[in-house]
Symmetry: C2
Subunit: 439 residues, 2 copies
Amino acid sequence: MEPVRIGIIGLGTVGRGTLDVLRRNALEIERRVGRPVRVAQVAVRNPARLAGVSPVDFAVTGDPFALVNSPELDVVVELIGGIEPARELVLTAIRSGKHVVTANKALLALHGNEIFEAAQQQGVVVAFEAAVAGGIPIIKALREGLAGNRIEWLCGIINGTCNYILTQMREQGWSFAEALREAQALGYAEADPTFDIEGIDSAHKLTILGAIAFGIPLDFASVPVEGINGLHGMDVTYAEELGYRIKLLGLARRVEQGVELRVHPTLVPARHLLASVEGAFNAVLVKGDAVGQTLYYGRGAGAEPTASAVVADLVDVARTLTADPSNRVPHLAFQPEQLAELPILPMAEVQSAYYLRLQALDEPGVLAQVTRILADEGISIEALIQKEAPAGAVDVPVVLLTHATREGRLNRAIAAIENLPVITQPVVRLRLENLDGLR
Amino acid sequence: MEPVRIGIIGLGTVGRGTLDVLRRNALEIERRVGRPVRVAQVAVRNPARLAGVSPVDFAVTGDPFALVNSPELDVVVELIGGIEPARELVLTAIRSGKHVVTANKALLALHGNEIFEAAQQQGVVVAFEAAVAGGIPIIKALREGLAGNRIEWLCGIINGTCNYILTQMREQGWSFAEALREAQALGYAEADPTFDIEGIDSAHKLTILGAIAFGIPLDFASVPVEGINGLHGMDVTYAEELGYRIKLLGLARRVEQGVELRVHPTLVPARHLLASVEGAFNAVLVKGDAVGQTLYYGRGAGAEPTASAVVADLVDVARTLTADPSNRVPHLAFQPEQLAELPILPMAEVQSAYYLRLQALDEPGVLAQVTRILADEGISIEALIQKEAPAGAVDVPVVLLTHATREGRLNRAIAAIENLPVITQPVVRLRLENLDGLR
């Protein structure tokens, strides 16, 4: 089938990420959509943005208005940010009958009502998953996944810069100024961090979340906002002593008189899941009347996490353009003729780390025999603890953690260990996963 | 517009929940879909299931095959569970051109390939968000929200019964048998808990998750499964001492030779977010190549959480039947003409609890003056701590937590407190949210 033709305006961090993801996962995406999704044109003000892009297998223009007016494109991806010319570009793309994907929360929070009305009249989609909480599909969860619920409230950590600063204040005992300086040095905060630290970026996102949660027009100007720039380190410490952590939350809540939408530093109970969301991560907690509380968590910024959301929107639009409505999303996510016949490995071939508990007679040389057997199978030990024998017991528990190994090997080692005369019971074997990369 | 006409087979826990949610949120759902979603017929074997349903404003039949063949219905909701007659009913509904919504993970894990092929040929949707992780929209996240990613691995706590038992073993120091008995007494475990505790239910769900993550056919028979029924309390304790918690995980991972799909008790680091998922909650962690790790968390079972997913599927189908494709999901979740004009409250009218820090001269009577002012405004104090003055300071910090109050009142109290001669600096005021209901 003919490719879906994409035009991208802006090749900054997210634009480059989008290009990378669309290329790297081209086959995966085609298997899902049923036709290729191809970048046909890119608009960049500064041609230096193209450095390192290879091959440049798309048209390049310095004039974004030429791109949005081009008859050769199906979808425009707006990634320049800011209000103008982004607003005019998006409206022009809509008027010329193109679907639009954007990550521009400021634009939508301020001009979304006008933009969505234009799109509605023109019969095109303006998709904006990337505008809130980066790669976390929170827009889709609220608009579709929780569509059976009356949403009662939601609250979110939706600015990673602030969350990183707050984490550093708490963990390092730093002042706000110190934590901000470090965040800037590490690239977690902009040179001009105003929009982040004053809560404005969070308020843009909350405006969007509140509108789709409650079905109200976008109204950024009415959202009370307080940032983290006035926060004292001593209050972070005292909050901690009282069992709370301070997070910059965006809150939306139905109340009798209307709705609350507000952004401010907030004490949340330290044992609450939301308090465990640290560093540059985002999370949104949603309370629906039927589902109760659900939480969505992941990276809220960065090239590829944001690109993940942009490309998900592109897949959504492409599926809409491609399939008859009832087959818009294939049952198993990929087109039926595109299912792969990957073998499911038997357990003996699986790699894992392990927890082992042996029950052994309390004699000298036991550990030497056990560790010899493991070494012979090439299994290395991460930790070994010999426990005290319970009163009256003839054997003592020995607990071992191994590094990752093939389960077939481990099973052979266990059989050999169970054959040792000093081992009194079958070995207990549990798998262990470190799930690296998330704190 | 004409209502979308629903037929429900089975009025057990989830069936009743679905009926309740569709009724309670009828208006909210109509605002989202653009037309009413109405239960037109229900099939129940035992008419006693109708006790307490009022009004019975739908047709009732004892013959589910009459329902799936009825020309009066657009969508069939299958909620009887088990393999037969559910399989035959679903296939018959498909053949008669109806869309199907089901929560039946066993049916899909075992016969999904056949069912989806039939649906594909007939051009109808079989929607199954409720089959995995209850109200958490994980199917939608994987099939749509993360569609730009190559999914590398996922793992989930997808059986609340097992998770509840494991939590009780860890927190109470109980044996497996003791924890199971309590779970049965409280209704968290069935009288016959085999499917749960042997990991079979988790494996059904994992089979579905693995298929949509990697684009492979459903193949339950190849999934290695180990339950929690052989687990010793002492291993739960030793794992804890080593910094781990034991969870029953379903794991799916791409490896060089194919894919791993496996269910077994697993040690995970205690500081990992997944380890904090306790009791009857579910969570799924997904690693995509672009987005990194994302987590989805909520109630994995129960009448209304599962109904939340069933109704979301109904909304999806109804939107497909109703809208032109590009307006399938309204931009702000609700139909544009259905947006509500709810006022956003100014902060003075918002209710919140507060953290206050005063800096006061270390004199007798300070607390009496402060607490008097708060009492006069009707603000009650939850905690009050007078800190030590730092060396050389003339004033001491006094930290207060208040119960919920209107911010306007609090601001008046703060103004009065700041007027006290013993108060040396502006009062620090932070909001506090307890986010009740989630542990």
